[in-house]
């Protein structure tokens, strides 16, 4: 049907026809959608409702307390401190991702028979479970069984030995290094995928026009990497603010030492299921309120990043 012919058919009839048109694919999608709604959407929405109660997570619901749990989230010094730790992790990883990971991607973009093995090695940390990564770094940095301090001693750098995880001023940095090791894998691979999209003829044309290597990188390669930057940085925000398992393994439930390694995920988990001690009272509703605040905050951060970086992409193209 041409556009003229389509215009001659009344709009109402077009809509009715569209509705009547058979769509067998919807029936195929239905089981998956039903499962998703039942096991994800409904529980998530239920957590919004339960956050309005005073409920430990065990036994019958307590009193309806309205938005008290949400108010408490913003007055909770421990949660605020944990959130700042997440911000710190995000900033540190943001700097590392957009420099080191990009640099590694550029190195690995060169044609060499070693490219495949190196890519596999770089990507390996991302395939490892965060729990395993946490244990690896704990073994590296442990004051008793760690290999870093003896290693420093062996190479004559004994003066740099330190109880990395026991010192509040270095414990979070040590955890950030562990997170960076894992995150760098995905970031590098995404940048590498982005680099494959840079048309070689554009680079060649720039070189022919007399551009230096740095100019080619700045004016040709970087613009073409804009989509990769968008993906990497949005995913990074989610990774940094949702950090939990690796941090929990290294810092424990109470963010040793003295809360220096608490992140929002640890605090929420501790309130929901206990802080890993013998005697715990849980606060499930409060944990749900904290989870919702994290969800909204993370949604906002991601949306802002997505909008800003997407605009930048459009400007580039």
């Amino acid at each position: 049907m041409t556009s003229d012919a389509r215009a001659s058919v009344p709009r109402g009839r077009r809509v009715a026809k569209a509705i009547r048109r058979p769509r067998p694919h919807i029936w195929f999608l239905l089981p998956a959608v039903a499962l998703y709604v039942a096991f994800f959407i409904v529980p998530t929405l239920a957590s919004y409702w339960l956050a309005l109660y005073d409920w430990s997570g065990l036994g019958p619901l307590g009193d309806f307390i309205g938005i008290d749990n949400f108010r408490r989230v913003f007055e909770d010094g421990e949660f605020r401190s944990a959130a700042l730790h997440n911000v710190w992790i995000f900033i540190a990883l943001f700097v590392m991702t957009n420099t080191l990971s990009l640099f590694l991607a550029i190195l690995l973009d060169r044609k060499s028979w070693l490219r495949g093995p190196y890519r596999a090695i770089i990507f390996l940390p991302y395939v490892l479970s965060p729990v395993v990564t946490g244990f690896i770094f704990e073994v590296l940095l442990s004051p008793n069984i760690g290999v870093l301090n003896p290693g420093l001693e062996a190479v004559g750098l004994g003066s740099l030995q330190h109880t990395w995880l026991a010192d509040p001023s270095t414990a979070l940095a040590a955890i950030t290094v562990a997170l960076a090791w894992q995150w760098n894998a995905l970031a590098t691979v995404i940048f590498m995928a982005g680099l494959q999209n840079v048309p070689p003829e554009m680079k060649e044309a720039a070189v022919t026009d007399g551009a230096t290597t740095l100019n080619v990188f700045r004016h040709v390669t970087l613009p073409y990497l804009a989509p990769a930057f968008t993906v990497v940085n949005v995913l990074l925000a989610i990774f940094a603010f949702r950090a939990f398992d690796l941090v929990y393994v290294i810092g424990g439930a109470i963010g040793a030492p003295n809360g220096a390694t608490l992140v929002m995920g640890t605090v929420i988990y501790g309130n929901a299921f206990g802080k890993g001690s013998y005697v715990d009272t849980t606060q499930m509703s409060y944990a749900m309120a904290q989870g919702i605040v994290l969800f909204v905050f993370l949604g906002l951060v991601s949306a802002v990043l997505l909008v800003y970086l997407s605009r930048r992409e459009r400007r580039v193209y």
Binding site: F40, P43, S47, G57, L58, G59, E78, Y126, V127, S129, P130, V131, S142, P143, N144, I145, T163, L165, A166, P168, V189, I190, A193, P227, A228, V231, V234, L235, I238, R242, F244, D245, Y248, G252, A253, I254, A256, P257, N258, G259, I268, Y269, A272, F273, G274, K275, G276, S277, Y278, V279, D280, T281, T282, M284, G291, L294, F295, L298, G299, S302
Partner: protein
């Protein structure tokens, strides 16, 4: 309601991780995952699975037997408990017990997660204190009136499982906490168990001067510092003083009691390297290997020391009072076993809980694990450490967190790690602890 149900979930989590890694390479795929990730952040439960996924169950299987699940919180007890369970299965051929372990520091979180997810074991073990009462109120466990020989349990055990005119179960064992010391190290340097704080400090300094790390003080989870503090404070307060604390006539902020917190600070330079990042389990291993000379430990820990170092040679003494007039130990209950109201095998689970408190089972507990909870059962003569532990405490005071008035002290101490980083003074630490105490004049 058995452990096998966890297997597929753990596997699917692993598979999902691999799949995520593979699909994260395209922009569209990555962003879709990202949006999913944002949504997932709203669900608290999504944080739970990786840390506790998977655990080993008993290897024994009987073709037609009813399988019931049960958790323990002392993985180091496995060899003894395996034998205990084997003995039960031998006398009850129709029941196959699948026993798995969640290490102590993670136990409560693991149990709460399982209860919330409807995946708790058939036989639920509760940490002493309020938890079992909350569970009973929430009808997560069933009353076992007339099915447990409650009159044959020691009073401290009865007090934990009999309440609201019902009997809900039985503890497996009791534990007493004192100070373990390495006998060969003490012998080598001519030291004897200290009888007052002056001697305690002198022994500590002497060991340090000889190049020995005097104390294991794993503080990553603050469990050992908690026991250190309540024992030091109890050594000052005594039995009457502790009763006064519960009734509100005494306070831990009194200058003489603040000395307990100050002692923890004063000894800080004598703790193991990086003690603030060392977990309870690692601290115990350090001590068992003889890399430290002293450790606050419970009767239940000795089995673990032997597992780490079969040749371990340790002794026990109570925490000396500052003036040397007494030695304090604190005593509490190990897991309080009850029957899950959602269990499909309640009669079998009840049989097991009942059997755990029997004289036969309790003799094994007394000889090899901890303090028995059955009246009239005593450790065999070969269990020197068990006997020493019983004799070490005069007075023997309840573990503070087991009593309603002082139940909050555990949370207060675990959130007061600032005492080791210089962020809290001894008095500020004591004030935090005092704020968590809810005095009751009738206590």
């Amino acid at each position: 309601m058995t452990q096998e149900r966890k297997g597929p979930r753990a596997e699917s989590a692993g598979a999902a991780g691999t799949e995520r890694a593979e699909k994260g390479l395209t922009r569209a795929g990555a962003l879709k995952k990202g949006v999913g990730g944002i949504l997932a952040a709203g669900a608290v439960g999504s944080l739970a699975t990786p840390a506790f996924a998977g655990s080993a169950g008993s290897a024994r299987r009987t073709a037609d037997a009813t399988k019931i699940s049960m958790w323990g919180n002392h993985p180091e007890w496995k060899p003894v408990l395996d034998r205990l369970i084997a003995a039960f299965e031998k006398t009850h051929p129709g029941i196959d017990v699948e026993l798995s372990y969640k290490p102590g520091p993670q136990y409560t979180a693991a149990l709460n997660t399982a209860l919330a997810g409807g995946a708790a074991p058939d036989v639920i073990g509760w940490i002493e204190g309020d938890a079992i009462r909350v569970g009973a109120k929430a009808k997560q466990i069933i009353p076992l009136d007339g099915k447990i020989p409650i009159a044959k349990l020691i009073p401290a055990a009865r007090a934990q499982v009999a309440f609201n005119n019902h009997v809900y179960g039985s503890p497996l064992a009791a534990y007493t906490v004192g100070i373990f010391y390495q006998r060969p190290i003490f012998k080598e340097y001519g030291l004897k168990p200290p009888t007052n704080w002056t001697q305690l400090l002198a022994a500590t300094k002497k060991l340090a001067a000889e190049g020995v790390t005097p104390w294991s003080m794993p503080a990553k989870d603050m469990i050992i510092p908690y026991f250190f503090y309540i024992m030091a404070a109890s050594s000052i307060l005594g039995q009457n003083g502790y009763r006064g604390l519960r009734r509100g006539t005494r306070k831990v902020t009194e200058p003489q009691v603040v000395r307990a917190a100050q002692l923890m600070i004063d000894l800080q330079e004598y703790y193991n390297d990086g003690f603030q990042a060392v977990s309870y389990a690692e601290g115990k291993a350090l001590f068992a290997q003889g890399r430290t000379a002293m450790l606050i430990g419970g009767s239940a820990d000795y089995t673990g020391y032997k597992q780490v170092n079969p040749k371990v040679d340790v002794g026990v003494f109570g925490f000396p009072a500052p003036n040397g007039r007494s030695h304090v130990t604190v005593t509490g209950m190990e897991l309080l076993y009850t029957v899950n109201s959602k269990s499909e095998h309640k009669p079998e689970a009840t049989t097991l809980v009942n059997w755990l408190s029997s004289k036969g089972a309790q003799q094994v507990v007394a000889n090899e694990l901890a303090r028995p909870i059955a009246v009239g059962v005593v450790p065999s003569r070969s269990n020197r450490v068990g006997r020493e532990m019983v004799l070490a405490g005069a007075p023997d005071i309840p573990v503070w967190y087991s009593q309603p008035e002082t139940g909050g002290t555990f949370g207060a101490v675990t959130s007061a790690g600032g005492i080791f980083t210089g962020d809290l003074t001894a008095m500020e630490f004591a004030q935090k602890v005092q704020a968590s105490i809810k005095p009751n004049k009738k206590a």
